[in-house]
């Protein structure tokens, strides 16, 4: 039986999540904004038709949105993450192997399904996801990930296909590949596109028929792999076990500018707290914490400053208190009072690690050993409290209470967390 991979993704996923719980959004243009309500990161077809571009800054489109009745939302990642988990639970009913590629895209292995039954199965999958979660999707099928991704693009652009496109058949595939521009291929960025156009490549079929070896010189092994994948030779298997994390970053833009040291210390401590939670979830530890903070390039005329430093820990740890100590040390090393009367106005800070290892397997320090025996139960108790009573129920004092943080990322137009918070459940009216 031939190999078949399907790529399923949610249509305007974030916007569709909003629509599931608010019937007033049906048929209305909807957009979702990035952190701090910066720019549009998801748009419904109606919003695209108004000319709103991906990544367009909110301040530029605010007037248009008001005029045209576009409903704009802050990112509600809690809701999107939950709806994504639900959709993937449905996918797992249809395929033994599911790779969650991103929050709204998953690859499914359909090799066990008879070739003439795959489209039928994909239609059934779409209908089930729509019924159970309310999310509309499209499915692309092909012998490789690259072709599945392309098939998904075709399913999205040609409404007559009913949301499913199968490129398993070689003749049919060849016909499509002649008609689509090479820029639509997964992994072909702007730089590669320029190189390919210089080589006279226009359609995807042109790229497929190139000699892979010279392409490897111009576009590395990635370009070569794309050619084989377009020929139906699978080079990218499904990644069913997410690779072990090598690094972890917690970075945030502030909702307002930070000028004083105490607030900066609180911000990096809060980021370090978050980092500790993430590391403990994977049983990972780190021996280095990098701390950075900088002013905004948008604040023209203001004094600029950008610093970063790396603090070494005596041994690998995921103890929030040790990470906070390191993060504060990072600020203490780099903090300067402004020489003139105009302070630096910082817009963003973050903590980053790049050397994660499994804590159990990490070497213990000879000198300055951290007390793991005491810290582990304390951290476990803190995590359990936050799981049971909601995020931020217990925080180290250094990080400040979530509600009192003046610099937290803004989500001013966020919808309720309909599916995870008892206090924010949607309401059904029993009113005549």
């Amino acid at each position: 039986m031939s190999r078949a991979i399907a790529l399923i993704d949610g249509n305007s996923f974030y916007c569709s999540c909003e629509r599931v719980f608010d019937p007033k959004l049906a048929g209305v243009p909807v957009i979702v904004l990035s952190n701090n309500d910066g720019c549009a990161v998801a748009r419904t077809a109606e919003a695209k038709a108004l000319g709103i571009k991906m990544g367009e800054p909110w301040f530029k489109i605010r007037d248009l949105c008001k005029r045209e009745g576009v409903r704009a939302f802050s990112s509600n990642y809690t809701l999107y993450g939950d709806m994504s988990a639900r959709a993937n639970a449905v996918y797992r009913d249809f395929s033994p192997a599911v790779e969650i590629y991103s929050i709204d895209e998953s690859f499914l292995d359909l090799s066990d399904v008879r070739e003439d039954r795959r489209v039928e199965l994909a239609r059934d999958l779409r209908a089930t996801v729509r019924a159970w979660t309310g999310i509309p999707t499209c499915v692309g099928i092909g012998p490789t990930k690259t072709l599945a991704k392309l098939a998904n693009h075709i399913a999205k652009t040609i409404p007559d296909l009913g949301g499913v496109c199968d490129l398993s058949d070689e003749d049919e595939r060849a016909a499509w590949l002649c008609r689509i521009h090479v820029g639509e291929v997964w992994g072909i960025g702007r730089a590669s596109l320029a190189k390919l156009e210089a080589m006279g490549v226009d359609s995807i079929a042109d790229l497929r028929d190139l000699d892979p070896r010279p392409v490897r010189k111009a576009m590395t092994v990635v370009g070569e792999r794309i050619i084989y994948e377009l020929r139906g030779v699978c080079c990218l298997p499904l990644e069913l076990m997410p690779a072990q994390r090598k690094g972890c970053a917690v970075t945030r833009s502030f909702s307002s500018r930070i000028e004083d040291r105490a607030t900066m210390e609180q911000a990096v401590s809060a980021h370090a707290t978050r980092m500790g939670e993430k590391l403990r979830r994977g049983g990972l530890g780190t021996t280095h914490v990098s701390v950075f903070y900088h002013t905004s390039e948008h604040d023209r005329g203001d004094p600029m400053r950008s610093v970063s430093t790396t603090v070494t820990l005596p041994e690998a740890t995921n103890d929030t208190l040790a990470l906070i100590k390191a993060a504060r040390e990072g600020v203490s090393r780099t903090w300067r009072e402004a020489p003139g009367d105009r302070p630096w106005r910082y817009s963003k800070a973050g903590v980053i690690t790049t050397d994660l290892k499994l804590l159990e397997e990490s070497q213990r320090a000879l000198i300055g050993q951290l007390d793991r025996e005491r810290s582990a139960p304390l951290m476990a108790a803190m995590d359990e409290c936050n799981r049971r009573f909601g995020r931020g129920a217990v925080v180290p004092a250094r990080a400040g209470l979530e509600k009192k943080r003046t610099w937290s990322t803004k989500f001013e137009m966020r919808s309720p967390r309909y599916t995870t918070q008892v206090s924010e459940l949607p309401t059904a009216h029993a009113i005549p």
């Binding site: 994504s84 978050r274 009573f389 059904a428």
Partner: protein
């Protein structure tokens, strides 16, 4: 405080599932932006909610379903994998508003109806203007309003 009550209602253990199942939500390709925002999900035992990905909880506001035993401020648990049949209680979008109604099928005609004798009989919508969101599997009443904690 309400959160705590829910936790106490269900025994922790093998019989407890989370709604939804938040499996290892790690993405192989792009790191999920939701990674920082995952929260404890609402938990329901499997025998009450056999299909977690399709199960959602709703607050009820109003008394038009009184005779169905559903009252103001109750909680309705909706299973979107169930198909509405004659006499199902459903959550439906009617004229841009989410409502809870009794679904009635009479020959070829489907209707959404109140269940409150105080309301006029003509207060019934044709399903032509409505879309069923999901079927109510069960509802929950809070009886603890005036109960204190025994110590």
């Amino acid at each position: 405080m309400k959160v705590r009550q829910i936790v106490e209602l269900c025994a922790e253990g093998d019989s407890t599932v989370r709604v939804p199942i938040l499996g290892p939500a790690l993405c192989a390709g792009f790191p999920s932006p939701a990674d920082d925002f995952l929260e404890g999900s609402l938990e329901l035992p499997r025998w009450l909610a056999p299909n977690p990905p399709a199960t959602f909880a709703w607050n009820i506001s109003g008394d038009s379903m009184r005779d169905a035993g559903i009252f103001d401020r109750d909680l309705a648990v909706v299973d979107r994998s169930l198909k509405a049949a004659h006499r199902s209680v459903v959550v439906a979008a009617i004229d841009g508003q989410m409502s809870i109604k009794r679904f009635l099928v009479d020959g070829n005609v489907a209707r959404l109806s109140f269940e409150n004798p105080d309301l006029p009989a003509f207060a019934v919508e044709e399903t032509g203007e409505a879309e069923i969101w999901g079927v109510v599997r069960f509802s929950i009443r809070w009886h603890i309003a005036r109960a204190g904690l025994v110590r």
